[in-house]
């Protein structure tokens, strides 16, 4: 049964038709709205590659059924956080620190860090490592990622 929904994605109304209420938000964002920021990594909420903000909170979109979103929930993806011309301070810090290798996990790193800095503007290194403990990186870029978050927080 196809259901028409209007999502609020990156500050714009995004009408989507969903034929299965179980469809995770990730698939709607990627396949219906053509966004590249949120990434498929595990589909189990284990790695963090799919992280988006829902009403300012970092959420794993791969295990968030689209039907579970509250009406009017504001969804922000990596694209909505900032752009090449106007990167968000966390994105700018990741670029300055060259904090990526393959970069596949980085969406989650940036979205999780941006949510952290919203709540805790000046986290210490331990708090940053703890906040990112559920975000996996296989290339081993962790050290640069932590430095980038410190840079964004102005504590480097």
């Amino acid at each position: 049964m196809v259901q028409l929904m209007s999502l609020d994605v990156n500050g714009r109304a995004a009408p989507v038709s969903v034929d299965d209420p179980d469809t995770p938000l990730l698939y709607v964002l990627r396949d219906d709205l053509g966004l590249h920021g949120p990434r498929f990594g595990c589909g189990l909420g284990q790695c963090g590659a799919c992280t988006v903000h829902v009403d300012g909170q970092a959420v794993r979109s791969c295990i968030t059924p689209v039907s579970s979103l509250k009406a009017g929930a504001k969804i922000v993806t990596l694209e909505g956080l900032g752009s090449l011309d106007k990167p968000h301070p966390v994105q700018a810090a990741f670029i300055a620190e060259q904090a990526a290798q393959c970069g596949y996990c980085i969406n989650g790193m940036i979205m999780q860090s941006a949510a952290l800095l919203n709540e805790t503007p000046k986290p210490n290194e331990t708090a940053i490592r703890q906040a990112l403990a559920q975000n996996l990186c296989r290339c081993g870029t962790h050290q640069r990622i932590v430095r980038a978050v410190q840079r964004a927080a102005g504590t480097l």
Binding site: G41, Q46, F94, Q98, R138
Partner: protein
Amino acid sequence: MTAPALSRRSLLLQGGALVVGFSLSDRGASAQTFAPVATNGFAKPVAPDRVDSFLALGADGHATIFSGKVDLGTGVETALTQIAAEELDLPLDRVTVVQGDTALTPDQGPTYGSLSIQKGGVEIRQAAATARARLVQMASERLGVPADELVSENGTVRPKAGGQGLSYADLVKEGRLDLKVDPAVKTKDPAQFALVGKPVARVDIPEKMTGRFTYMQDYRVPGMVHARVVRPPTIGADLQGVDEASVADIPGLIKVVRQGNFLAIVTEKEWAAVKAAKQLRATWSEWEGLPEQGKLWQHVRATKVTKDDVTSSTGDAEAALGQAARKLEATYDFAIHTHGSIGPSCAIAELKDGFLTCWTASQMTHALRKQLAAMTGLAPEAVRCIYVEGSGCYGRNGHEDAAGDAALLARAVGRPVRVQWSRADEHGWDPKGPPTLIDLKAGLDPQGNVTAWSSQFHIPEGAAGNVPLVAASLADLPHETTMAPGNIIGNSALPYAFPNVRTVCHRLASTPFRPSWIRTPGRMQNTYANEAFLDECAAAAGADPLEYRLRALKDPRGIEVLKRVAELAMWQARPSPVKDAAGDVLRGRGISYVKYELNRTYVAGVAEVEVNRSTGQVRVPRFFVVQDCGQIINPDGVRNQLDGNVIQTVSRVLLEEVTFDRGAVTSLDWSSYPILTFPDVPEVVIDLIDRPTEKPWGAGEPSAAIVPAAVSNAVFDATGVRVRSVPFTPAKVKAALQGA
């Protein structure tokens, strides 16, 4: 869908003397199977001995480099840009790299072994230098000025004395650089380098940080449909029946594809395929062909040996062992590992008018093309593989297999098919780093010096090559039947000058899982055993582990990395273990060294560890590494790779082990195959030795080779207990501590 990441490329490719006949600006919409790859009427050559196989100069003053080596997330796109721009005397922003397209790029071999710069970059450098020399010669003829009185800079050749010059675009005009690459061409004097050796920012990072980059997993083509594979529940199970009615309610179901034991679901929308793959009922035969995991090493030892590779033989090791004042003997083992890419493998294939196009994150598109041709029965000329960067692979993961799946499915449904593997597909079915078992013996003289060394490595047969595609195997289509674990005998021989040495690799007829190379294949396991066992010799001799290595090392570059790392880590000269260790958390340090494959990059490292005596948990808070890879192209890129190789290997050594029952892999997600996370990631402290006048060597995987032994040696230093089995899990360490 436009990928801004690529729009820059379209600019570079418009107009000019050598123009690729289709736009790369809109790759998402360019299912232009075999669009004319022509350039002013010339076909784009790909022969590896032609200059215009490697580069094109556009009328807009830009150069396009065609690289058979691809960026797997290691930053080589940027480094290759630096090399080409340097040699062509162009600014960086006027050079772009097209990677791994079998119709456009020369076959420079697979992207493995830390060879992208050492081999791929050097070939591009020679092509660019040949082109530049030709441009100067053309300018000399046009200007009537001797070539040695001309200078090239900023895309122009002009008289050194001043006066009007000619741009490259002016010089090439409607022609082409129809030249042979001159391998003896004079390349730029490193003293003149303006770009090589500089920490240039990576070209791909801004797009990756803002969600504007198109990974393979993001790639879409018009008319495309989605597929999920349904793998057998056990590796050798036969498909006995499929109940298609079980997925009849799936919206947009296109087809349940069954061919032999290959089973997949194709649907209009992606989520429907995910759901259907879970829902599909199929019956499979029982299969229990794997060894018991608890008896893996007995199994390896009992596996038939097909041949012995004697990788070094000096003096008479057996006789010297018999005469030694003191003898040591130990066995080391190293678990089965998976690549663990964060993004599971993905590919798209389209079969149209008898031509197969495959978009793939393969590290070896030219080899994959041949595999897909063999599998489908098409001529290789009717297959085109186009590289699109995916999640990092660290070797031969599942990218090529996903391409095989997509090719089979594209033929089955007659539409472009995108195959996205699940997490369990990747962990369960990507090829594995094989289990490695190593027996070592050493004899010491009364002063503790090694007089005899004998080692035996129990490792699968085979070398690098094509790993058979899962789809071809399951569907019983033509495929390779030999194993390709990579060049895993490397670094079984020693970099030290001992008088009597014999190192032998017993090559095994089989190994439990389809093997492939995973970062530093064999060289990591072999260096681990060699450098840890050498530490056992040093401890037996009561010697400082650094001093002990320097005694037997003659190579000045090797000596330098060891001395530099000792300085960096503030190494205290003393024998291991630490005396009078007290408290619950014991601390120690360990050193390790490699000359990679005994013919290139030198690396030395020091691990600092903390061992919790009551839990057995090992932490590596800090790791020091010094590398000499000859000429450095991009020091920031090298540092990034060293961080990655050290951290990933600490993860492998402390945590990682593929688990399995008698039928299949059971570690199918990140909770059953955990990797190192932020709280436990070491600080990596790096010192680079740059030698601009030397050859550039591999800068990535060599550093992974030294990590396991450095950690093992540090655990011994802290506790007096030797851990000889990777991973160094709390259970193993605790048992060793209790046994001590």
